[in-house]
Symmetry: C2
Subunit: 361 residues, 2 copies
């Protein structure tokens, strides 16, 4: 296939790359470009175009050829590969991450996560004991999230062609009839809420990888968010958008939602909760916590009239105790995310360009 | 987790392995041991215990917490990672293989394959052109199989920690109400049918990898089998077992079905179709075509009374023109597969032990 690089939009970080570089997996502009220009043109279907954390499939629209049976459920379906390095880190491991990541992607479409698959790509030489620990961790995370692992696959690749272990998890959930959560539903006036402190997961990985030693150990926040989402949906069925702030952090999520909904988003930077240790680590490494990955935090966009009750429901849940309203959706500057800074000014918070923290999940 | 190696069953090829070796990904005894002793004890649920190519999920049994909605479909759900080397081979590439492999796993449970996800793990340095070609190939294979790719994920790993590209595909299909295909349904008296020549895919990969040059190029048989299965189900809803003969080949499939159904299987070796070029290549490399992987061939176990009509339906389909009955299910020697050899004797066709052809799919 001849790729027409010349047609790619500006800014064009990919145009100069004849090969894949780490930035293409970053969750930022380079990855968005890759998806927009290389993947999307091949797969133009309405379902993939949802661009959500999960895809919502309405089985009511599918007549089963021949049998006469017609499905009548809305399913959520999602997939995610995990290539985090190191495999075990403060607060979790790749197994727990792989379960929670897919559980969360399902929960972000308002689905009740039910069934998971796991595909293991194991590098020759991985200690059996390590694999055993991680598989046990997958199982424990499934129990904690209340999902069943129902399908699996194991492949082994030669030494030097992997990095210990990669795990793909895919998942299926069911969506209650009246729930309608999608990236394009944010409306001017809506409240923007985050469920807790930003940047823990990314800085936990970085602290191990860079051998940094902080007074307080930074632990990954990896957690299944389906319980929290259940509590939020019990408080309001009118939640417009939900996203877990993984690769690219809060900045990427807000940019994606603003672009998909063709609205502006404004938030007060000092209202974004960041743990002191994470803040210190970010300063030391020159990173902005808004761009650092989380694995147990979500962003919700909620009609203003429902914001207080959703917030109260979140704070009553163990994983939402520090939930806070950080800003609002505006009609001005569509697709732009603007932070009001501590000193009264404001700045555009753009999608990260390329590589910030490679192999964070 | 402490692994109790001492409790592992005999023969115990894994007991001596403190680390993962290539054989653990082989589709043979070593992989079966790994799954039985390391994975299965962590995930004891009825659904995973089906041990089919796909897992059948009856949504009728799931009450949706809170909403009152209850699913009422039987879904098939499956996952498979593809780590084939090289990425492009005679007759196909990793993209086509990844789609067909998962389509086939769904079809083997009697499901109509509908939705696929694809997770790409890309090694830094992969030429953009190669990625573009393979993604186009994924899309084309989806169109050919009549499925929609509805969810995707892209990760990039550092150079030297991958091998160009690994792809995981997961898939969802719907099962017609009266279809009931499972590995444990083979019954004495049933006919054993294969859909065509054995060993093409494995030998196509080997011929490239070993730089072998045969008079006739051996091409992979990668193909979506859902159309063929549809034709078979139109001829008979009473098919007992279906398996595509991938890793471990025909020998592995027959052993798995015999073990799951607690029956014996007998077949005539000379009735198993093998292309002359594949036969010659196998002889040269000292391989047995019964153990070589296929990616577009299936094994069916069918009630004797339905065998002729199923066979006729297969032969009328482009992918089943060479379908042939090779043997039968017997009550004797449960779990054992016996081949009658050309010279009037017989031999036990065992599950392959470990590594035959690494990274074949």
């Amino acid at each position: 296939m001849a790729l027409n690089f010349a047609s790619w939009t500006c800014p064009l970080p990919l145009r100069n790359y004849p090969t894949i570089v780490m930035g293409h997996g970053s969750g930022g502009k380079m990855m968005a470009d890759l998806i927009e220009h290389l993947f999307a043109p091949q797969f133009s279907n309405d379902l993939l175009a949802q661009l959500g954390d999960s895809t919502v499939i309405d089985l009511r629209q599918i007549a089963d050829g021949g049998s006469g049976a017609i499905g009548n459920q809305r399913l959520a379906f999602t997939t995610d590969s995990f290539v985090v390095s190191p495999l075990v880190f403060p607060g979790g491991d790749i197994g727990e991450l792989a379960v929670n990541g897919t559980v969360n992607d399902l929960a972000m479409s308002g689905a009740r996560p039910l069934f998971l698959s796991a595909g293991f790509i194991i590098e020759e030489g991985l200690p059996m004991e390590t694999l055993g620990q991680i598989v046990a961790s997958v199982a424990q995370a499934c129990r904690k999230a209340g999902v069943q692992l129902v399908a699996g696959d194991t492949k082994v690749v030669n030494k030097g062609h992997g990095d210990g272990l990669y795990i793909n998890t895919s998942g299926i959930g069911l969506i209650a009839p009246e729930v309608n959560i999608a990236a394009n539903r944010a409306q001017p006036g809506d409240a923007v809420i985050v469920s807790g402190a930003m940047g823990d997961h990314g800085m936990a990985i970085m602290s191990v990888r860079e051998g940094l030693d902080f007074e307080t150990e930074i632990k990954s926040d990896t957690a299944p968010l389906n319980g929290l989402v259940g509590a939020m949906l019990a408080a309001s069925r009118s939640i417009h958008c939900l996203r877990d702030a993984t690769r690219g952090g809060l900045a990427a999520v807000l940019n994606e939602l603003a672009a998909a909904s063709k609205v502006g988003i404004e938030f007060e930077e000092k209202r974004v909760p960041v743990q002191p240790a994470v803040h210190a680590a970010c300063e030391m490494l020159g990173l902005d916590p808004l761009y650092v990955a989380n694995e147990g935090k979500l962003v919700a966009i909620v009609p203003e009239a429902e914001a207080d009750s959703v917030l109260a429901a979140m704070r009553a849940h163990a994983l939402g105790r520090e939930a806070v309203r950080i800003g609002k959706v505006v009609a001005e500057h569509p697709s732009l995310v603007v932070a009001r800074t501590g000193i009264g000014g404001s700045r555009v918070v753009d999608l990260p360009a390329g590589e910030l923290l490679p192999r964070i999940c």
